[in-house]
Subunit: 331 residues, 2 copies
């Protein structure tokens, strides 16, 4: 897409094409509302429940679009990625639907429940050491040996286009939305959402929600270039990645603000999702609600007129034991 | 409704009228599906998520219909009930919407979170001792002093008609449903659902799910008359009531079977709702999933051809502490 001389990795056409392509396979997730949460936040909130998506997170949209876009020759050799998170399971599921192999390089020490998901969806698990260099080394060996196509979790135009379908659906479901709050990690989801939403409704505000212990997006926007953190520390295990060269330009140009949240605020929001909305949301997924309720958002005069806010609950894959532990320790 | 010489307290017309009346106030709750749960159960399951209803349970439909059906003179004096459960909160909320008082007699020892809900929705709490005789005595004093109208939680035609709107919505959302599984307690929900569903689709099967420690409906159907249990013992705190004279004829005539579940099966289903569907469902609300997965349902040749099953997840009001405790103790 050409805009101010910039090219982005996706645009409204590629997102609409992705929607047509993946529609038969993805859930059109419902939008929930709660008068209690409206009254607590002082806004009208519309929760887009991607935790109900197949595989338990929005990741299936992008993975599905990437897999379905392969030509027959590429597809035959399968797809690969290195990830211990929701993208690994989503890619396995997308490959299963197409009947092609998925090779997933998983670092030792990855959470059992996420590895179980990969296996359940028929992905082939290849173990690596937990360091990034080992992951990349093993992955490149797998690519070489199998001839499979690497599907990056976010730095990929097809993946960004797939994630953008969240916004297409949301704005079709609730026309009056004036703001969308989206968790930010590598930037695949928010890039797709921003490109779709600002094309449909140029006045819409796109706000990122980021944990304090992994605030590289906020730092990057302040610095005007991609900042990578040497260490991250947050309960939101899905929000530790850094921006890529395809997501950064979109985040730089189209994301209006980044709200930074403490882990304790994220846990509180997760608890409200469960107790008030009756929805199980993982920490990375609940951060958008935490942002709406945060003092820094509420007191910012720029966001006073955000009245109808779409909040993307991006995923629901949380281990029940950790959930109970985190509630107990935050009492 | 006349059927085999029997009159029922509601019929498809009163249910459709209720639907028109309450539509502006209730959530049209979404229907969720899960390929994992389809594969585990060997059927196509359609989860009607009444846990997302206002007040966290289907109860708001009946309470709302009852309150909105009062004439101005009756309404002015308010409504009353004695309950420590979801009906109390639902009635308070319905009264609040109409701007009329709700007097709720609450037995001492009622769960704090449910009393909090009543207060949050503006109901006036009047305490009684925990015995049924004290509850009734206090309630009758309240009725006398205030001139308010008693709204029974289930033995009331308007309440039954309101609950029946669950089936109207479900059959509009998913036409191919051939069976609906509904939790049974006093019988208000299942009576409304059975009357609506069998009128729209006479071939549909209506199956009740009941906890073993409160199996009065199964015993009543076997005996051909209302059986009241002296003691009940189940984790499903919403399913301890006995059938009333308005719900019994419908349960007797239109409910095709009662599946009885152990508490451990209910807890397991509650856990699957949370981990697989990502939905927080209280024990009484998860019992329908437990029924579909139970050996007694799976091995019963009469239900072999139940292919597309609506499962009503009736409520989601569960205290997070008890939730974590019950999962820990059932490990």
């Amino acid at each position: 897409m050409e805009a101010d001389g910039q090219k982005y990795a996706a645009d409204i056409s590629s997102i609409k094409e992705a929607h047509e392509r993946i529609k038969p396979y993805v859930h059109k997730t419902p939008v929930l509302t709660s008068e209690s949460l409206n009254s607590i936040s002082g806004r009208s909130l519309f929760f887009k429940c991607e935790c109900f998506q197949k595989g338990g997170a929005f990741k299936f949209r992008g993975a599905c679009n990437a897999v379905l876009s392969l030509d027959a020759e590429q597809a035959a050799k399968g797809v690969a990625t290195h990830s211990s998170g929701n993208h690994a399971a989503a890619l396995s599921l997308a490959a299963k639907i197409q009947g092609i192999p998925a090779y997933i390089v998983v670092p030792k020490g990855a959470p059992k429940c996420k590895v179980d998901n990969v296996i359940r969806y028929g992905g082939t698990v290849i173990w690596s050491e937990s360091t990034m260099s080992s992951r990349e080394k093993v992955a490149s060996k797998v690519l070489q040996e199998t001839g499979s196509v690497l599907i990056h979790p976010y730095n990929n135009g097809r993946v960004i286009s797939g994630q953008g379908t969240v916004a297409l659906e949301l704005l079709e479901q609730i026309q009056e939305i004036d703001t969308i709050i989206v968790p930010i990690s590598g930037g695949g989801l928010i890039s797709g959402v921003a490109l779709a939403a600002k094309s449909i409704k140029p006045s819409i505000r796109i706000i990122a929600a980021e944990p304090k212990g992994a605030d590289d997006a906020a730092q990057s926007k302040a610095a005007g270039r991609i900042i990578t953190l040497p260490v991250t520390n947050t309960i939101a295990d899905g929000l530790r990645a850094s921006l890529g060269d395809l997501t950064w330009p979109v985040v730089r140009d189209l994301v209006d603000d980044v709200v930074i949240l403490e882990d304790v605020e994220i846990i509180k929001a997760m608890r409200m999702c469960l107790e008030i909305l009756k929805v199980s949301v993982e920490p990375s997924g609940a951060i958008g609600l935490a942002a709406v309720l945060s003092e820094s958002f509420r007191s910012n005069p720029s966001w006073k007129d955000c009245k109808n806010i779409g909040v993307v609950l991006s995923g629901g894959n949380v281990d029940l034991g950790s959930l109970c532990d985190s509630f107990q320790s935050s009492k």
